[in-house]
Symmetry: C3
Subunit: 464 residues, 3 copies
């Protein structure tokens, strides 16, 4: 029995399933547009083989190792945090032994897709098949067909955006351009390291930003000029969007004098946690102001308590699967920014959430009104069949489809990209098919919407 | 292909759909009871033709123009806020061009119903059919069959409640009574303008209330007497309910002396925002106290941040589609009121929400316990197929059906009333049919409940 | 027509229902493991007949009398709070007259199951059948087959945990052991009365704890020693778990000196509400510390506003159906405890909630990461078909199945235990069947998971 059934994720009810299958057939072969994610440009610049299965599938994927960790597996035993895995087969076997833990999770769907579609495996991963998997994957990774650029083409990716610090030289992006390869890989401007005073090394980051841009970043004016400079550099490399990972959705509208004073105080190292939050809030507003000038689309990803597990953070650092969502207030948080720029149809701000209680209460009403606002797809823990379906069920009636922007795979795991887009397309088709079966839209509209959600709305929102 | 399918909104699964159809057939022709809404008594007093299609369908309906606005249409181009639309056909064409934006929204369901059932249109509204629609609707609006009273009868409305300020003379309601027409149109007592210190013109409203009632509204005692007087005036015109649109669900239980002092301070114009909130809270309690005396049913609609869009409010005023929900705390907010009157079975307080996270956490547990509490139907952004279904799924298991009060159309759009009740009836039947198909209730019970939800519980809760 | 249909609670769609039926057939006869509930050990120690139907089904069941109360029935008329019901038939008739109020609620499912499966009744309870029910139930309760131990065996209960105060002598548990009867009834350590300063009689409880354990509970050190002593006493009677019913999920990590000072202040009777909350928070951490030593599993049931109805509390005391949920913050609340013990795979903390908005935002992300955390089943108002299904839909994709712990019946109503487990098993099978029908897991996995959820995960989590 294969790992994947052709009808997976479609509702069982035959009238709905039949429509869903037809809709899906009409979009399954559309190219992938990936406007937000965390793959690395160097993969495509260097085009070197991916390393062993453990390094590829386990180590970078916090969806995978957080589940193993939750069930008592030590990160040391998975060799998390080491550069070269000493015993990748041993790590892989731990994973294989516990693969049943992923039943009912999207990780299972993504991995099975990669296992079958890329590596031709058709028995379920388990203790029994661990070595078969390890050997098969290891061997294929050394073939030309599995080099990053070859996979990029095989995945039918039309455009792939990475996420990058303003301090990044973008040399890898430049190298891709210089290489003559025609894959379209674009940077995204993610300034957390230079706009969030709580970011590790904030002061030295500000200093480095000054050096890089030739601006005096010890003054508010010079700091803003440096950010403009960096944005322009990103734009010259094809960047169309910024991304902001703040703990809250708070924005502010301070006077220039107040902003400058706050900036000076923060640089002095004597500022409080509240002042850091206020500075982040003001910087979202400044970023919106710059977006209005230079046309970069803003993405706001708020509401994550980073590094909730103190011990793990001390031992292993960031992004160890220990970021936990928290309540987010968009209605009050965004108000200062919206008071300034909310009615600008030329500005696009895409909102994400980890707090589903805001879909009907805040996000759909906001996006269904303010011309500058759009709703990003379900993010992170919500990037799952049930999560995506809830998003459509909860947001569509107030925001409609046209205030949404299609799918983000948002992944560090390059090999999961086709699987993730496939899940999103299937769930969208399942939702549309139910609307058709319940006579809430007509079938011709559903076909059109399937195209919109997969392609048109993505390109329009991200200016791609 | 007609715009409406007879099976619309029923689940696709045949066992459920078959039961739903039978249930619906048993209630589809029941008269409409509309105990809460925002139609205008003058329509039925004057019985003049409705104006052009744009004035009828677009201008007053913030569901319509907020969606268009969210996608970049300027309100000026829709001639929002003008008394007489200069070029209604042009406005209509903008709307028709963008009608696809409403796919998947309840607005689409309501409009298609009106287009087909009232105007006989059976091609979808689009750029191509814009003029056909405009001409057809314009022509029909001039016929006697489309006069307000004729439509009221055609809609099979048994009773229709408007929403009115205590300062309203109710002359239009009196004119209806005097006219000899037998349509039952009742006022609802909505005192926000005289109990909310943040309401525009609060102080002068209080003064006007005093003049109107002959009470000295510069004193707390006189103010309460004036409110009692106004309530009695409404009751004499058939009013059975009050309605309260506060930003929160907060109530208070101040002493008479403290209330009087607070009132005096607020009239002095030197009060703070917190004092305004406390005053509103106290006034909900006072209204409950009066309801216990005079029998008026209380409706509380909390949790809306009014006029969130400052620029739009400055340009166009209230009710421009820019009210956004916010988190609401019923458990602590209502406590002072419930401590006083919660156990009064003779009092009826109907609670509404825009915060669905409260259904299982707060509202169903409260209504499933306190004798005075009932749950109003899904409101505003939640008045939609998915929203109504969630309400039943989330509230029924704890509050049961009998602590709910049937449907409110809550609309400014008179022509949408039959459509809205039709949607509510279909969704209730769909929910009941699933319970039958899953053997959670028997079919005879479902038939009884369909009657209850459409008629009996409404009449009982609103004393109609 | 019987009260129960064999296919009840299974989705109507035939492909899903067929799988659900097969899954259910594989687990329907598994023994009941009840690791958390509120039955009384004395029932099994004394093995006396249950009294009349009103005393059995109405008086102790706040699900029943809260609904009746919400619709205007006076608790006095139900003879709530009296030791011996003067006119049980009259009380029963009130209930029977209003049995329709429970349509769509889990109470209806539980009661119908008991009526049919235990008492052989097959006509619906109503005014017409009230006396038939009363007479049938009354007669059967006097037969040997309806004695508590006989029912325990008939229900196929493998283990049943009660919930007990540290001040309880556990004499009834000892009597069960001494009796030679082989039913496994275990105590659970519920220390609210001696760790919550707001608990009635807190100071005298602390004093009694000292006397019982021979420790000086006027000092922090002696108090902790007394708690350890009491825990050991419970463990010697088979106890495997503690349970904590705090108003919030707050924890703290005070120094020993600060804890001791806080304890002294609280015993002095001069402490504030905030200090009471801080003490409860610290005590959760102390309980976790002791669990790490002695192996007792921790259960945390936060987020209930107890005795919300002041008048009822004054008249009738606790547990009158007037506890109302409130918002709960696990992410910040649990942080101090998790900073200390979150990474201990040897510790098990089972989290419950009454705030469903936390499932995807907080609980599943936390349990899907921290080795010590597990998710308890839907609790109280959420222990219902829709509530259970939402739990699976919302929690599984992030936490998986293996960070959950199976079902708790959590009931005071002994006769409802089989019904409650039956509902849980059916809903789990319905959920698993949908995953199979949508090709998200394979059928062999679903059969395994059905066993896990019913048995394996329960025994593992609770160390049974």
């Amino acid at each position: 029995m294969p790992l994947l059934n052709d009808d997976r994720l479609f509702p069982a009810e035959s009238a709905i399933r039949n429509v869903a299958k037809k809709l899906y057939a009409s979009i399954r072969d559309l190219p992938i547009i990936s406007p937000h994610g965390h793959t690395q440009a160097i993969w495509f610049a260097a085009n070197q083989p991916f390393p062993d299965p453990a390094k590829l599938f386990i180590q970078p994927d916090h969806y995978v190792h957080r589940m193993l960790y939750s069930q008592g597996v030590r990160l040391e035993d998975l060799e998390i945090g080491v550069d070269t895995i000493a015993d990748p087969r041993k790590v892989w076997r731990i994973f294989a032994d516990l693969y049943y833990l992923f039943r009912g999770t999207p990780t299972r769907l993504w991995l099975d897709y990669a296992f079958q579609e890329l590596f031709g495996l058709d028995q379920r991963l388990s203790s029994q098949t661990a070595d078969l998997y390890f050997d098969t994957i290891s061997a294929k990774l050394q073939t030309p067909e599995f080099l990053p650029r070859a996979l990029f083409n095989r995945f039918n990716i039309q455009v792939l955006a990475t996420t990058d610090s303003p301090l990044d030289s973008l040399a890898d992006h430049q190298a891709i351009r210089d290489s003559g390869w025609n894959g379209r890989v674009l940077p995204t401007f993610r300034p957390d390291s230079v706009v969030d005073p709580d970011f590790a090394g904030f002061a030295s980051n500000i200093h480095a930003l000054g050096q890089q841009t030739g601006e005096d970043t010890s003054t508010w004016k010079g700091y803003l000029a440096a950010l403009r400079h960096a944005r322009n550099r990103f734009r010259s490399m094809g960047c169309t969007a910024t991304d902001h990972g703040h703990p809250t959705a708070n924005t502010a509208n301070l006077s220039t004098a107040a902003s400058a004073a706050l900036f000076t105080k923060i640089l002095s190292g004597k500022s409080t946690a509240d002042e850091h939050e206020l500075f982040r809030a003001q910087m979202l507003t400044e970023m919106a102001r710059m977006s209005l000038e230079d046309g970069l689309v803003m993405q706001i990803h708020p509401g994550s308590v980073r590094n909730h597990n103190l011990e793990l953070f001390r031992k292993f650092g960031r992004d160890m699967g220990a970021d936990i969502p928290s309540q987010t207030n968009y209605v009050e948080g965004l108000r200062p920014l919206l008071d300034l720029f909310g009615n600008e149809a030329g500005l696009t701000i895409i909102l994400f959430t980890l707090d589903e209680s805001t879909y009907t209460r805040e996000l759909a009403p906001l996006a269904g009104h303010y011309p500058c606002l759009r709703l990003g797809p379900p993010w992170w823990f919500l990037d799952s069949p049930e999560g995506m379906m809830r998003f459509r069920e909860l947001a569509t009636e107030t925001a409609g489809f046209y205030n949404t922007v299609g799918f983000n795979d948002d992944t560090r795991a390059f090999l999961s990209i086709p699987a993730r887009h496939d899940v999103a397309r299937r769930i969208d088709c399942a939702f549309l098919a139910r609307l058709v079966a319940e006579h809430r839209i007509d079938q011709d509209e559903a076909f059109d919407l399937a195209q919109q959600l997969t392609n048109t709305l993505v390109r329009r929102a991200y200016k791609l």
